[in-house]
Structures are given as structure tokens and as C-alpha cells.
Symmetry: C3
Subunit: 470 residues, 3 copies
């Protein structure tokens, strides 16, 4: 007998009755708010072409590193669950791949993946039994049917999810053709881009040279001169703004910033362009470019996001065989206090600049990030990120940040996902955890209920709207 699937209305709320009652009340205030998704990695082509998402494996397994990294950790090959490699698409049969996932549900106990998938299966797809080895075929078939129907095409889901705005993330070398197509289509869904220049800033990136070439072509600037290179950024930022961009995003290995003299910056750039630069040069160039990006943001108003601290593609063999972004990124300790100082010395006291900081190193919450954001006018704290985008992670974020930075130096939730169907699930988790955290403060008489009510509305809607200038 398959087990029943039924989300509990009180999920993620404390089991203490007085706290739970308050959490329910607070959550009810924002449960039906529209979704603002100001940072994420969905594919704009979905909304441009509005094609079917295909089958369960294509939709849920192949693109979701949260899922296949866990399976991989238990010795299950990525080939077997539908993940493509440099050699081409996965040879796996989609149904067989799905069954592997189905029978390994126990691996996800206690993980956010299980919360998200439970929500998707119940709330979005209407399943009434749990996914298991026994129900794998039923799930696979039913998901296929649903995805083939108009109601499960990208635009229909976007509308059903009540998404007010969804930002994707593109490289300066992207033509933004999909965004153009969305614009031209007359569809009302707001899908905007964000400017993520890492491929033309990170000289260690394997495609740096080829990307730089495209960057020059698209911008019409001489990107091999320092001044032309900077102009090319301004040019592409402007173009991105015509496609709705209100923010930039920077995913660097560290939070290092630099503020070199123009002469030194140009000399560094020339070493980078000529090749034969040192690893320190590459790091210094990324550092300098964060400060350059801040300078441009002062002019064009784009909010900056800094996502530092991942050792990318840590697994050498997986990188060689499957390429980038295959669930092998591992967090590192990150020092914000020394690393951000050059940028802060230059622009930390500006009133018209917003820099949103993220971290994979939770030790920085109370020690560095909350003290920095609780002082510098330009700094705000992004929500708990990636490995920490989870009930415990979000709770630690609020517990460790609030006492020094308050709620109003934070910016609400980012789903930051490429798993489109999980977006409502993720926002639901965030709203529940915020409700539960605020409920604890109220239940412990540290905050009044009416203040908590105003706060949860701000966290859900007003703070992201303001920080990202939506």
C-alpha cells in the first residue's frame, strides 16, 4: 500500500502550542502574497518558447544538483540519473533514472529537498500518495501527462504561482534574445535579467578568452584596452537594463575587493589580457572589478549582489567528465572585514548604492555580516544561501543576524533556483520560517504581535522590492 502524501498545515512551526498559534497567525498574513524572485537561475527560454518541460527526469533530476549530488554521494552515477556530460546527453532511460530517485527517498529525509518535492508533488501536481519505488511508474506517467498539458507549461505555471517578478541571471556575453522574445510576445509575465559578469572578469575561467571576444563584439568596444573594457561593461549594463535588469551579481571565490590607482589598475588589466598572469593577479583583478562595478552602480543605479566563498568544481574528475556546476562546489571560510574594506573605504557611506552580501560561511553572520550591515549604509544582507537555504539554515540566519543588524538591513527571500517548480515551495518555507522565528520572539515577549505582523509583511514583500528596486 502506498503511503498517503499530505502536507500538514503546521509544517515548520514549533510544536509549542503558544508559539505555533502565533506562527499560524503571522503566516496567514503573507501566505498569499505574490512572489518576488529577484535572484535566481531559471532559464528565460522556458518563458520565451513556452514549451513543455518534458518528463519527470528532465524536469526534476537532470538539472537539480541538490538531488544528484546526494545520490552521487551514495555511489549512484550521474549518468544513471539523467545528468549530461561533456560527451553528450545522459544515456539513461528517463523512467529508469526516475526509479532510482524514487527508491532512494530515504536519503533526503530531513533535507530541504524533501520539503520542496513534497510541496511540488502535493500542491502543484496533486499527488495523494508518496513517491516510492512502488509508485515510481505512476508518478513518472502522471507527471508526463501533466507536463504535456497546457496548464503545466512555463507561462501557465508562472501565472498560477502568482509570481510578480522573476529575475534570471545572464552573462554580458548573452544576447538576451529570450528576454527580447518574451518582451515581444505581449505576455504580461515579468521576467527580467540580471548582470553577472563573472565569465569576463574571472581570468581563471576556462572560457575567459572566448567570452571576452564575444563581449567585445556585443558591446562594440575595444575590450582589450582597460578603458574600452570598462566602457563595454557600462554598455552591456545599459542593455541589460532595457531587459529589466535592476541588479548585478558577482560569484567570486572570495569577498576580496581592491581600489587600485588608475595606473595600477590599467597595468593589472594589461597583465590579465596578455596572459601569463599569476593567480594573485587574477584574484586582484576580480577584487578591483568589484570596486569598478560599485562605481558603475553609483551611476546607473543597479543593486549589487556579492555571492562569495565557493570552491567551484572541487571534484576534479567530475569537472573533467561532466563540466561545471555539477554539485561539486564546496564552501570555504570567508573574511568580509578585511576583504571588503577597499570597496567600503571608497563607497561605503554612499546613500544611493545598495550592495547585498551573501555567505556560505555561517560563522560570518554574527561576527562580520551583521556588524557590517548594521553600520554601513550601502550594505544589506541577502538571505541564507544555497546549502543554508533550509529551515535550520534560515533559522540560524535570523537568530545570528537580527540582534545586531535588525530585520531592516535584510532583503527578504531569494529562491536562487534553477528548479522552477520549486519556487513556490521555497518561498513557502521562507515565509513559514520567518513566521516561526517572529512567533518565538512574540511568545517570549521580546516583540509585540502587531510589530511582528508588520515585519513579516516587510520581509515578504516590501524589503525585497526596495532593495532590488523592483
Amino acid at each position: 500500500m502506498p503511503e498517503a502524501l499530505k502536507l500538514n498545515e503546521d509544517r515548520l512551526f514549533s510544536s509549542d502550542p503558544s508559539q505555533r498559534a502565533i506562527a499560524r497567525e503571522l503566516y496567514a498574513l503573507v501566505k498569499d502574497f505574490p512572489i518576488l524572485s529577484p535572484h535566481g537561475h531559471t532559464d528565460p527560454q522556458w518563458f520565451a518558447d513556452n514549451d513543455s518541460f518534458g518528463n519527470a527526469t528532465q524536469l526534476f533530476l537532470a538539472p537539480d544538483h541538490y538531488i544528484y549530488r546526494m545520490l552521487y554521494s551514495q555511489g549512484i552515477s550521474m549518468d544513471d540519473v539523467g545528468v549530461g556530460s561533456k560527451a553528450g546527453p545522459s544515456p539513461a532511460d528517463a523512467r529508469t533514472a526516475w526509479k532510482i530517485f524514487a527508491k532512494n527517498q530515504h536519503l533526503f529525509r530531513g533535507t530541504p529537498t524533501s520539503m520542496w518535492m513534497g510541496y511540488v508533488f502535493d500542491q502543484i501536481m496533486g499527488f495523494e500518495v508518496k513517491l516510492s519505488e512502488e509508485t515510481a511508474d505512476f508518478y513518472f506517467d502522471r507527471i508526463g501527462e501533466l507536463l504535456a498539458s497546457d496548464a503545466y507549461r512555463p507561462r501557465a505555471l508562472f501565472e498560477r504561482f502568482n509570481i510578480e517578478l522573476l529575475a534570471t541571471t545572464e552573462s554580458p556575453t548573452d544576447s538576451l534574445e529570450h528576454h527580447q522574445k518574451i518582451k515581444d510576445s505581449g505576455w504580461q509575465g515579468r521576467v527580467v535579467t540580471a548582470y553577472r559578469p563573472d565569465p569576463v572578469i574571472d581570468a581563471e575561467h576556462e572560457d575567459f578568452k572566448s567570452k571576452l571576444k564575444v563581449f567585445g563584439e556585443l558591446s562594440g568596444e575595444d575590450v582589450y584596452s582597460w578603458k574600452g573594457y570598462l566602457r563595454a561593461h557600462r554598455n552591456r549594463r545599459d542593455f541589460f537594463m532595457t531587459m529589466g535588469a535592476t541588479s548585478t551579481d558577482h560569484g567570486h571565490p572570495t569577498a576580496k575587493t581592491a581600489n587600485l590607482s588608475p595606473v595600477d589598475a590599467e597595468a593589472l588589466f594589461n597583465r590579465i589580457i596578455r596572459g601569463g598572469f599569476s593567480l594573485d593577479d587574477a584574484e586582484l583583478f576580480r577584487a578591483q572589478m568589484l570596486t569598478e562595478m560599485a562605481r558603475m552602480s553609483l551611476d546607473d543605479g543597479l543593486t549589487m549582489q556579492i555571492h562569495p566563498g565557493a570552491f567551484r568544481n572541487h571534484n576534479l574528475k567530475v569537472f573533467e567528465t561532466y563540466g561545471r556546476d555539477k554539485g561539486c562546489d564546496i564552501p570555504l571560510p570567508t573574511n568580509y572585514v578585511n576583504d571588503l574594506k577597499p570597496l567600503l573605504d571608497a563607497f561605503g557611506n554612499e546613500k544611493d548604492l545598495t550592495v547585498i552580501l551573501f555567505t556560505l560561511d555561517e560563522t560570518s553572520y554574527a561576527r562580520e555580516l551583521a556588524p557590517l550591515a548594521g553600520h554601513y549604509p550601502i550594505l544589506k544582507l541577502g538571505p541564507s544561501w544555497w546549502f543554508h537555504d533550509s529551515p535550520e539554515g534560515m533559522t540560524r540566519f535570523r537568530e545570528q543576524v537580527t540582534e545586531t543588524a535588525g530585520f531592516y538591513n535584510t532583503v527578504g527571500f531569494n529562491d536562487d533556483t534553477r528548479a522552477f517548480l520549486s519556487i513556490p515551495a521555497r518561498h513557502d518555507v521562507a515565509r513559514r520560517i520567518d513566521a516561526n522565528f517572529l512567533a518565538r520572539l512574540v511568545a517570549e515577549h521580546r516583540l509585540e504581535l502587531d510589530d511582528a505582523a508588520e515585519t513579516i509583511k516587510d520581509l515578504t514583500y516590501n524589503l525585497p522590492k526596495a532593495a532590488y528596486k523592483l
Copy 2:
């Protein structure tokens, strides 16, 4: 309609009924204990002169970096809320400044500042409505009236607060004239000093040279020779002891200690004195001086406090415009295990020396500080400090320290404040959090109620009394 202000009797206690009932019982045991304040930054002149504190802005805003850093983080200028700069006193109208604070109360939701201010307004000043934009004038006027009355002068409040002892913190270059005046006045309040030699130890301090000169004058020693410099410290420590000092305090960027040979120490000192020293020299000199201070403490019995790990005056422009200590200090990672070893190798096993360690880096609680204090006879752990002097911060301290160091290698609470009126509020928070933590242990059958009762009395009174030799 203004909202009612009413502190709940159960504030900060768990909402779980059985834990809450035990917390109430434990808190009741120590609620009315006298206050021991063995480390803080109040101004002895207040108690010497016993003048009125002035108006609400002068008392609450201008000196409180917890408050103006939060306002500043949201783009509110320090000039506008009464904070003086190098150019002179703030030009702001006190009432206008107060209104800015009043209408930004939401920024402090969930912060200890809101707990402290709520206590002060309710318990000390008798307000029955909350501070808001609407009540700002009423508050400003009423506070002015109260502060003009005899009952709100420093000495009267000191007595009303039931303070048994209050330690201030002075530099060796301070004449301690205010302490002398208090002593001569016949007033019975115990206001003692503590020896904080940073300005004559930190060669990077902008006033190092001028302070050194005064140090020589006050001590009558040749402070430009190593031996004379050390004698000057002994001389001033003796003098501070005549003004009640039982402790020294050291606020260094790191916890580094050194134990150089006499020859090397003298050579280092000579480099420092001559100028042209390196940053490493300055660091090494601070490190060496911690060990010298420990050596002196073995002779004169002063308890040592080490407060390491702040990047002072991180905001360059604020430092240049407003000077030191303007809410721009940011914590750094701190390594105690390697850094303290030279001092511990020299004196770690002494029975007549007490060194109290503080941290701004909570990662050291369970990893370094509890293991160190749970072994070395000279080491005790100070309470959660500064950014962590908060309900969550205090709870993390107990949760992460107790299992390895127990309660008896800790020293009770320090308010560490320059905000005199917040002292009872801060001690109340500490007593409540300790009661709540102990109540959890009792409710989970990890500790007997009678042992918890004895423990909370020790934490509130006996442990600080012993550690600081009061």
C-alpha cells in the same frame, strides 16, 4: 492612539510551560540581588559631580553606538542624531534628533537595544505608552523633567539601581581625579577604576607619543627606557589600586602574546620608542606586554581581562570625520590556541593569577575557549560580549561553553556599558537568560532544581565577586 508600554513578567523565558515555570522560580531567586558591575565604561565624573544628565538626546542617543550605528546603517547621519564630530558638538537640535530616533523604532525590533530601552522607559522612567513618532515630544519633555529632578541624578540612580560596585575603565594617563573626588565626597557608592593601558601599549594608537609623555610625568619614571617603562606601569597600577582597581583590561586587535628574552624585549621596546617600527613590531610589542602585565598581576594581584578581536574604526571616513569609537568596530576571527600559548607557557599553571578571556568570535566558544578554560587554572571566561551581549548571544555562550568548561570557569555578567541607565536592564536580561538556560537543563532532566538554584546565585553574585576579587 499611542500603544501601551508594559513589560511582560515572563519576557525572555521559553514559552514552553514547564520550562517557563522553572525559569520564573530561578529568576525570582536573584531578581533583587545587588548589581556587581566589575567592567564597564561609565564616566566617573557623573558620580563625582552628580550633575543632571541633561536631555533625552544627550543621555540616550549621542553616547550610544548601538543606537546611532543602526540609524546610520539606514542612511541617517550621525550629525542629525546628536553625535559630536572632530569639528565640535553636533549641530542638531536635541528634540529634532530625538524625533528621528522615535520614528525609527522599527529598526530595533528583535535587538537588545529595544529590550534595554523598553526597560528604561517602563521601569526607570515610568512611561506607560511606547515611544513613537506620535509620543516623541511627550517623551522628550518628560525625560527632560525627570533628569532635572534630584531623583534622576547619577548618585540617586546608582543607589536606586542597587549597585554594590561599579568599575569604570581608565588609561594610565588619567589622573583619576574624579575617583578622588568621589572618595573625598563621603558618598558611599563604590565606584572603582580599572587599569586599561592600551594607549601607552598600542604604538599604532594615534596618540601614543603624547600619551607616553603623560605616562612618564604621572609615574615619575623614565618611560623611554624599557626598565623605566615597566616601572611606570607598576607605579600606575599601584596608584589605580588606591582608587579601588582590582583588575586590568586589554583591548587588542588579536589575542597574541609573546614571551621574549629580556634582551629581545628591550630591543623591541627601543624600536617602538624610536619610531619607524613595523606593524609586526607593534603587534609583537602588544603581545609581549600582555605577558608583562600577567607578570605584574602575579605580584600585585590584579585580575587581567583580555578583550581581543575588534577591527577598530573600520569606516575610514567616519574615523576621519568623527574620530574613534563611533560604532565602526567590526569583529574578526580570533585564534586563542596559538596566540595565548607564550603567556600560558609562562604563567598558565599559576594558582594566584586570574585571566578573564572575552571574544567577539563565537566560533571560539566551544572550539577554543571552553577547552582552554576547562583546563588552565589561570583562565576564566568572561560573558558574551558587545555584539553578543544579547538574549541569543548569551544563550549561545551557555550552550557552547558549559559542557566543556562548566559554569564555574565563567565569571557572571559584565554590562560593559557607557549607557548608565541601561545597567539594570542589562543585568536583568542576563539573569533572565541564565534562569532560562538553567530551566531548560532542569526541564530536560539534565540538572536538579536545587543545583540550578545554587548555580544561578553563583552566576549572579559569587562568581563575579571571586573572579574580580571584589
Copy 3:
């Protein structure tokens, strides 16, 4: 009147009624499971000779660094509580030593030691009053009587404790004569060894040279040549496997690994053997040997354990007077991401290798260890260790690890103790904390009860059995 000693059936469970009820139910499922103790430091001679444990001081104080380090931190000499030094056995009278411990019970409030000792006194020794100064003599006498009885000899207790398997830890230079004697005795208790080669790998170890000599003699290999040295390890590993070993163990100062070319490895080995090596050489050699051990594990199937991050013998005077392992080891920050990469590049994707990682640096749980173990097939996470083998420590481990690594990349509990009588107490704490953690997930509707039930059985029995190949 002595106070009654009575363990509460609900100890360590949340006081929230709904969570507690679920925790009781889950705990009941595994309460009587046999004990698997795949890593620890009991003395095999106990089970070989089956002699009496002597008196209370010999059994409980002298060997337990958790106890005497806490007493020492309060100025109580190790000599006075029965700890032997380099000069010979402690001169203290055993009864007098016991009384010191008895009257200092308050130091252990809130520590795991108090939980363990309470269990031992109540469940194993049948005391009905608490240990105190008043009952110290009664305890000392009664413990002496019990230990003299057959029922309290090592083998009888082993059976009474329902231990299915107990692993000790020996150096390659150990003859394993006690394990041979156990084997020859016909006794059915499974006491196996584990291979801990630190003394012949750590060139900084004070006995490195003499141990190396024994290593050569026992293995019959030329341990002064790189190839002979490696063969000697393979030889001893084989021998250890005949004594039941299924694992190796490595207690290094850091998690550094290296994968040198054969030529470079040999050159490094030669520097180590010749003496005059640098500290970096010693570190690099330890790093290289972890990779060599992994290579051997691929062949012989031994599970690897890495226990990094302790600054051993931090207290210079205690080390000089009393020797190693006297409660003076202090944790350090540990970086797994960079340090393990060479080993992971070589063997991280193998399916037939298991490497169990431990940490003393809890900051690595969510940041490094869970992401690594949630991806690499060879990696599993050992339980919270040493200073963190405690209710709060175990809870933090589950809270910080589960969301990224799940439960199935962990390996259940290790008692890791030399305190034989505390083994049931420690496993009981672990089972209770796991039950309580799972109960919270169930009570918050993050996990179904039947899944929690299956999980706690796996954590208690199936996962350690699989990871250690028992």
C-alpha cells in the same frame, strides 16, 4: 541527608509534550539494541586478563581526562586525584583523591561527565544517593566491593552491557598480544583492534625513532627505505586484520593530504628518516601518508578514520611533568576543503573506499563537512567528537549536517572512550539525542513518524555496521 539519585526516564528529551512523546516512542525502539563500539580507546588487557578494575579512583579518576582537567582548571593538582606522572604513580591516597572529586561535583553541572557518571552510579552500580562529600566514603567502599566481585570484572560487564563489538586502537608497534590472548581464551566477546599508525607517521612524535625501530622488527621489513616502509604498513595492516581490525585511524594536527609523485615522496621520506627535517616536511609527510593509507585501504578494504585538528599537549609544563594525553589537547580551526583535495582528487570517486571524517571545529559541519560528504562517494561523517560528544554537541551536529548530508552519510555513534563503564551511558545519550532530534522533525511535520522510526534504527545499528564493515 544525602540527596536521592534517580535518573529520570525522560532525560534529554525536550520538555515540549508533543515532542517528548514522540522522542519516547523513538527511543523505545532502540533502547535495548546491542552496542556497536567501532572506535574507542579501552585497554584490551582488561578483557584479556579479566582482572578487577581496582578502586573508584583507579577506575574513574586517574584515567579520565574529562574529570581531572576540570578539577585542574580549578587549581586542583593532578597528583592529588591519582594521575600518574613521568616520575611514577600518583602518591595520592585513593580514598582522599575520591573525596576531592566527590566534593567538587558542582564543577560538572551541565557537563556530559555528570550525565555519564549519574548513569554509571545509578544503572550500573545501583546507588540510590548522589555522590557528595557526605557520601564519598560510602561510595568509595561500595565501589571497591563491587569491583572485587565477579559481576564487575571486565568480561562480565562487557556481556551485561550487551556489547556486540568493541574496537580498541593500537599502534603498528603493538604486538596485539592481548587480542591474541582474548582470541585464545575461547571467550565469545568480540574485542577487535584498529590500526592507528600515528607514532610511525608523525616524525614530530617524541618516540618516532624508537617506534620506527620496533615497526621494522615486527614487520620484518626495511622501514628505512620508502618501499620497505610502505610494505611494513601493508604487513602490519594484514596482521591487524587477523585480530579483527576493519578500520584504520589517523589523529593528525590538520586534515592535510598530499599526493606527491613517487620520486618526491621517496625524497621526502628520506629527509624524514635522516632527521634534520623541517616542520613543513613533517606535515607534508603526514599528509602524504593519508593518501598512502587510502591507497592501501582500496586494496585491503579497511575503513579509514581521520581525526584531525587537536593541538596536542598544549600545556608545556603538564607535558613535561606528566607526559602525553593529560587533558591538555585543545582544538584548532580545521580546513577540510583545501586540505583533503589531493586525496579526493586521487580517490574521491571510488566506490570501494570509506573515509570517515571527524572534527573538533564545529564551524566545518555545515560549511565543509556536510557539503563534502553530501557529494563524494568515499566520505562519511563520524559523530560529534570529544569535546562535542555531549547533548548540545550532538544536537548541533544533527542540526548542521542533516540538511545537506542527510542521515545516510553519517555513521552512527562512536563512544571513543577509555572509560569502559561509561560506554552504555554514552550510547544511551546518543540514542536519546537522536530520538529527540528526530522527534522535533516529526513534531514540526518535517518528517513522518515511520520514517523517523526507520532512521533511528539505522543510526543506532545499521549505519555503523555498514560503514565499519562489522
